[in-house]
């Protein structure tokens, strides 16, 4: 999508003008997905850190792998959502939103195990 292509028009009007990306909302939403996936890097790295301690047992390594898989899923979902946002009009998000919330909860669970184990 090229955000520079949006042209003025009446908000809410029917016809092609209604599908212009006023205020670049599609583009801004795509960036919001991207920076959310990037924010998860901090969680992923901190969850992975104990696995690199000398003489790490199998539990931290397993949890690190899970955290990395969760992070990869977040990045993949963000890219898939970008395609829905490129449609005119943009397709609404449903399952991607739920998946993001559940993966975040999963990070909290992994974090709890990393802290207590």
């Amino acid at each position: 999508m090229n955000p520079g292509e949006s042209t003025p028009g009446t908000p809410g009007a029917s016809g092609p003008a209604a599908f212009d990306d006023h205020g670049m909302s599609s583009f801004r939403t795509r960036l919001a997905w991207r920076r959310t996936a990037l924010s998860a890097v901090a969680v992923g790295l901190l969850a992975t850190r104990p696995a690199f301690a000398p003489g790490a047992r199998s539990a931290p390594v397993l949890l690190a792998a899970l955290a990395m898989a969760g992070w990869a899923a977040l990045v993949g979902l963000a890219y898939r959502r970008a395609r829905g946002l490129d449609a005119r009009p943009p397709r609404p998000a449903r399952r991607t939103v739920i998946a993001y919330a559940l993966i975040t909860v999963g990070f909290a669970v992994i974090g709890g195990l990393v802290v207590t184990l």
Partner: protein, 141 residues
Amino acid sequence: MAPFLTFEVDNRRVFGGVRQWFDPEKTESVGETPDYRFSLANERTFLAWVRTGLALIAGGLACAQFLPPLPIEHLREIIAIALLILGAVVALRAVDHWARTERAMRTGTELPASRFPAILAIVVATGALVLTIAVLIQALR
């Protein structure tokens, strides 16, 4: 505060929150599709909350890994777990609020009001205050 995971359907309160998440087709049949920009704004608000949750989770993990052992036994782990739980609650409430806002926009009703931001602010401020006092007591001893 609006009850968590409950929705009003035909003026009846229904414990259908979780089902609504997994049954998105049902939401789609309610009311009319709003201007897509409103839905995208709702989506960005959800994402901002998810980032808040992720930040709390990262803070909890950082507490557990970088704080020295504290004078009270297991206090470090307790702080870490509290932050992790707070992060999970923020994420769950984010998706609940997103679903309820989406539904309100479709049915043309009032957007859901929420005390959650105020509660979260008070919880975080109280935690910060308690820790500041703890640090001061330790420094002055």
